[in-house]
């Protein structure tokens, strides 16, 4: 040990290891089984879990088989009845007990997490575990008040949950807490690399007396996960890579299982010329140099205004050079170990392709063991793989923009849409960018801030569904189910009319597709027979044209605002009332009146389906807004040609979406007649596009078009499965509203509006003066 007088010259920090003896005693050569029905099973086939910083084996855990999963799902099913029926207050007590117990064991869990994952102890101690505790407290609250806050809602049942290795215990909390609060039971599969805190959590559940089977934990690799996805659960919730997410979406297609996906990201980090550059540099530290860059929402694409780029880079470089890479258990470590050698190789592979394509890597050297120094890629453009692919390591990209519009274009030039960070001292500029960047979470002048009350989740290839707050709770509930009414299957497409001559003395009527505000002939030049007319037979190219028209109309339609759109919908109602007779042959009076009522209802809601400012953290304005999806594909029920069509199109457009609608295949005339009314009612061209033809084919064309942001498909069985399979590639969320009487009052409501929107959470810390509210990040 060096002499004090020597240290007084060098002023080095010295080692500051966290004590891990309690955790090592707990591990001590242990072999873990699964936690099923309140007990640990006898281990059978096992694998080792290691400390990535040393390679040391920490424990043996069990490889979950399909049989283990089935056993766990049965246990969860048995437990769900009682757990779901339990008064919310009683569930709240259990969640509260879990929160308290985790809090009492916070140091143990932080050390265990750091050993298993390699993240610095500072992060597991100051960020992960405190957030876990908060999440359980927050959801103890939801359990208590869910009955009155979500009236008529029911738990989904048994939830299969698959979580990643980057925040093992925190992701467990995000999954388990809302599921339990809502009355579901859980089978959770922790990541193969990092199963230990989940097993410690199982002990905590047993300790607080959580009823057997409410939580089941099955460890294992991807095969175990696949078995869980295939098992008879009611919902799959997954956080992980986009690639695996696609596979899961494909696997559950047509199963009726609910699905939420929180996938990858390549989030923009936009530094405007008026930003506090030091603050922004620290934001990078909290983004991509947090958790070794293994953060799905990390601001990994730094975009900086050209006029400040040189100064920003010099500050960034200086800050980077002060980061300490080293032993995760050392309290002075900033960057710990990459989770596994496989991941390290993956990171280095992307870096070598990025530099091969012309980027320059600053820092970012691979070190002995599972370590990579922090770094960034410069001289890099969007075409470089390093700027497109999620690196999931401590390496950012650094490039420039000239003007705010270019910043937005570059920010949105990605397949992903999880998060964004915007730095500007102008509230005017920052909030504009926050609105225009496509992401589920936007941090203004901050980065990677999380809170249980603030919904988190993505758009585009970053997945769908939200975790946290009210939105997160809704994803573990089912709303009141209407009285089911079968929707008749469409008849086979007949290429020619049935031969019955028209008695009509009028001039022959030509119906066309309605695309971009104009009547269009179908691309294929073909028709099919329905309702005694020749109906245009739309196809994939018509869908393409309609999506393009819908995308083009978004700006104007959203620019109208809620009030402006309401005026249009009222005018539509007025014109429908005037032109009732034109619809008379195609829809019943009841259907027409229902359509008019729907116009009023959604006009009324157009400026009232408000978001919320959530009480996430003091000193932070945390704004959750209901953003429209964008372009929606709406496949209307076959059996309800007018009320059904309007019950789906109207909530979608009221919220600011534009729509490509496929009307009833067998009775399309009401919708086609509507086209003329739309044009006279000031509905801008492209807001509602109508493509007739084979329902299922058109649905698949919509679900496999990357420019579509959400699909509603009233269908069952193989038709729906095919749409969901198509959407598993594009990661478009598909909602299949239950068939019902579409003229009935319960064919409208908030649930339709919720499905027509996605929550976007915008964080804005405020404070003119130091307020002493800055905690150590959480």
């Amino acid at each position: 040990m060096p002499k004090v007088s020597d240290i007084m010259e060098s002023m080095e920090y010295g080692p500051a290891p966290e004590d891990s003896s309690a955790v090592r005693d707990w591990l001590a050569g242990r072999t873990f089984g699964h936690f099923i029905a309140g007990r640990f099973t006898r281990p059978d086939q096992t694998f080792a879990t290691r400390d990535p910083s040393t390679g040391e084996v920490l424990a043996q855990v069990s490889q979950g088989s399909a049989r283990d999963v089935a056993k766990a799902v049965r246990a969860a099913r048995r437990a769900q009845r009682g757990w779901g029926a339990m008064p919310g207050h009683d569930r709240a007590r259990f969640l509260y007990a879990i929160a308290r117990t985790i809090q009492k064991r916070e140091r143990f869990l932080a050390v265990l997490e750091t050993l298993d994952n390699g993240k610095p102890i500072r992060e597991s101690r100051d960020i992960d575990v405190p957030l876990v505790v908060r999440h359980f407290y927050h959801h103890a609250g939801w359990a208590e008040i869910a009955e009155t806050e979500f009236p008529g809602h029911a738990p989904l049942g048994v939830c299969g949950q698959i979580i990643p290795w980057n925040f093992p215990l925190l992701m467990l909390a995000w999954k388990v807490a809302p599921a339990l609060a809502a009355g579901n039971t859980v089978v959770l599969k922790p990541a193969e690399y990092t199963p230990l805190t989940a097993l410690a959590f199982a002990e905590i559940c047993a300790h607080v007396g959580l009823p057997a089977g409410v939580i089941n934990i099955v460890t294992g690799d991807g095969e175990t996960g696949a078995a869980l996805v295939a098992s008879p659960v009611d919902k799959i919730a997954f956080t992980g890579s986009t690639e695996v997410g696609r596979g899961i979406a494909r696997a559950v297609a047509g199963s009726g299982k609910k699905l939420t996906l929180e996938l990858g990201g390549k989030s923009p980090f936009v530094v405007m010329d008026d930003a506090d550059l030091d603050a922004a540099v620290e934001g990078v530290v909290d983004s991509i140099w947090f958790n070794q860059g293994q953060v799905c929402c990390a601001g990994s694409r730094i975009l900086v205004a050209e006029s400040v780029a040189a100064r920003f880079e010099s500050l960034l470089r200086a800050r980077m050079d002060r980061l300490r890479v080293g032993a995760p258990l050392d309290k002075s470590t900033d960057i710990g170990a990459i989770v596994d050698p496989v991941q390290k190789d993956r990171i280095l592979g992307i870096l070598s392709r990025a530099t091969g394509a012309g980027a320059e890597l600053v820092g970012g050297q691979a070190q002995d063991g599972c370590f990579i120094a922090p770094g960034y890629l410069k001289n890099i453009a969007p075409a470089n793989p390093g700027m497109r692919e999620e690196i999931f390591g401590p390496i950012a990209t650094l490039s420039t923009f000239r003007t705010p519009d270019e910043a937005v274009d570059l920010a949105n030039n990605t397949a992903y849409g999880l998060a964004a960070s915007v730095w500007s001292e102008s509230a005017t500029v920052a909030t504009d960018l926050a609105a225009k960047i496509k992401a589920g979470v936007v941090w203004v002048n901050c980065a990677n801030i999380f809170a249980a009350a603030a919904p988190f989740g993505g758009v585009r290839d970053s997945g769908y569904g939200r975790e946290g707050g009210r939105e997160g709770m809704l994803d573990y509930h089912s709303p009141p189910i209407p009285k089911p009414l079968r929707d008749p299957l469409p008849a086979a497409i007949a290429a020619s009319p049935d031969g019955a001559a028209h008695e009509d003395k009028n001039i022959d009527r030509t119906v066309k597709l309605y695309i971009g505000g104009a009547q269009k002939r179908p691309d294929g030049g073909a028709s099919y027979a329905a309702q005694d007319e020749l109906i245009p037979l739309g196809g994939k190219k018509d869908i393409r044209n309609a999506v393009e028209a819908a995308a083009g109309a978004l700006g104007k339609w959203q620019g109208l605002g809620g009030h402006g759109r309401a005026q249009v919908l009222y005018f539509l109602a007025e014109n429908l009332a005037l032109r009732r007779s034109e619809f008379a042959g195609f829809a019943s009076v009841e259907q027409i009146e229902a359509a008019i009522r729907r116009c009023f209802y959604y006009a009324g809601f157009a400026d009232k389906f408000d978001g919320a400012t959530v009480a996430a953290k003091p000193g932070h304005l945390t704004h959750v807004q209901h953003d429209p999806h964008g372009v929606m594909g709406v496949i209307a029920p076959n059996g309800s040609p007018f009320a059904g069509f309007m019950s789906l199109v109207l909530p979608a457009i009221a919220m600011g979406n534009t729509v490509v609608a496929v009307p009833s295949q067998d009775k399309p005339m009401a919708a086609l007649t509507l086209a003329q009314v739309l044009a006279t009612s000031d509905v801008p061209g492209g807001v509602v596009n109508i493509v007739t033809g084979p329902r299922d084919g058109l649905a698949q064309a919509l679900a496999s078009h990357d420019g579509v942001n959400a699909v509603w498909h009233v269908a069952q069985g193989e038709a729906l499965a095919a749409t969901e399979r198509a959407a598993s590639e594009t990661l478009i969320p598909v909602w299949s509203p239950e068939p019902r009487d579409w003229a009935a009052p319960d064919a409208q409501g908030r649930d339709f509006l919720r499905r027509a929107t996605r929550a976007k959470t915008i964080w804005l810390p405020y404070g003119a003066l130091p307020a002493g509210t800055g905690s150590s990040a959480y």
Partner: protein, 319 residues
């Protein structure tokens, strides 16, 4: 008496508004950084003892009270000569440790000089109408000359807060240049009284003007404002020092005052210096801590480090 010519001085520059007029400090971000910083570094065992002793050699051991007397000042100076009990220092193998300076009112300078004779411990004097500074400029300058005449080795001046609050940067600059001139060959530390400037942006801009006018140190507080040195304010001042160095190549020191009371504070501030500016700013020629009670807490920690027992305050020599 130290040879002031060997000290690094900041010659100052012409007034450059463009170096600071676009600064806008994001306060929540500064607070976040300041809050996470102490949690990012940990000092244990020998390293903790060494960093605490380093803090001692950076302390401007201070008494600035209306009831100061020559004897009270002499007692303080005795502590400055021997800030930590010799047996404890022996155990750690450290010799010749003193505080960085003592800091007193001008009328107490002579007493302090007398009490410190035979040592290298400099005497710093506050001046320019400390603490409010609301005296005519010629009297404030005269007070500097008086303190120098009494033998002061360093001068801690206060700025006119009004100039900052009213954005009168050239007036502030001119006033500080005049003070710097009056200080002559001794170090000038400029007290910004950050607790009265309130916003971090004000603090940053005032820091720049003070450095451009030739301050050798910028100092947070008089100890008399409602809020004295804090980590966020210090962070902003250190970044100003860094920016000024990047612009000019001139090196300026930093002195937090009035907010540091515990050994943990002493560690936190040193971590801040090391992380934001580097090793050079952990030496008394670039880092001073204006404090009085801090030393006692450090001495107790050192005592614990050496003996394994927590010492009661009464067992350690009073300052």
């Amino acid at each position: 008496m130290k040879d002031h010519d060997s000290k690094r001085r900041n010659p100052g520059t012409a007034l450059h508004l463009e170096w600071f007029d676009r600064i806008a400090v994001n306060t929540p971000a500064a607070e976040r950084r300041a809050a996470s910083l102490p949690a990012r570094r940990s000092l244990k065992k020998e390293w903790q003892a060494a960093w605490l002793l380093n803090a001692v050699r950076c302390i401007d051991l201070t008494t600035l009270s209306g009831d100061d007397t020559p004897d009270r000042v002499a007692r303080l100076c005795a502590k400055a000569r021997q800030p930590i009990e010799p047996a404890l220092l022996d155990a750690l193998g450290v010799e010749g440790l003193t505080t960085g300076a003592v800091c007193v009112y001008p009328t107490m300078v002579a007493a302090a000089k007398h009490a410190l004779r035979g040592t290298d411990v400099p005497v710093a004097s506050v001046a320019t109408g400390f603490p409010a500074g609301l005296m005519p400029l010629d009297l404030r300058l005269a007070e500097i000359r008086y303190a120098l005449d009494q033998g002061a080795d360093e001068i801690d001046i206060v700025i006119s807060r009004a100039h900052v609050l009213r954005g009168e940067w050239s007036a502030l600059y001119d006033e500080l240049c005049a003070m710097r001139e009056a200080c002559g060959r001794v170090l000038m530390k400029s007290i910004l009284a950050t607790g009265e400037l309130k916003t971090l942006t004000n603090v940053a801009r005032a820091s720049h003007v003070a450095m451009q006018a030739g301050s050798d140190f910028i100092k947070t507080s008089t100890g008399k404002e409602p809020v004295n040195a804090t980590l966020p304010v210090s962070l902003v001042m250190l970044r100003a020092i860094r920016d000024y160095r990047d612009q000019t190549g001139f090196i300026v020191g930093f002195k937090p005052a009035g907010g540091l009371r515990t050994a943990k504070d002493a560690l936190n501030w040193q971590v801040l210096m090391a992380e934001e500016l580097g090793r050079d700013w952990l030496s008394p020629d670039l880092f001073r801590i204006g404090a009085s009670s801090l030393l006692g807490d450090i001495e107790r920690q050192i005592s614990h480090h050496v003996t394994g027992r927590y010492a009661a305050a009464h067992r350690l020599a009073a300052g």
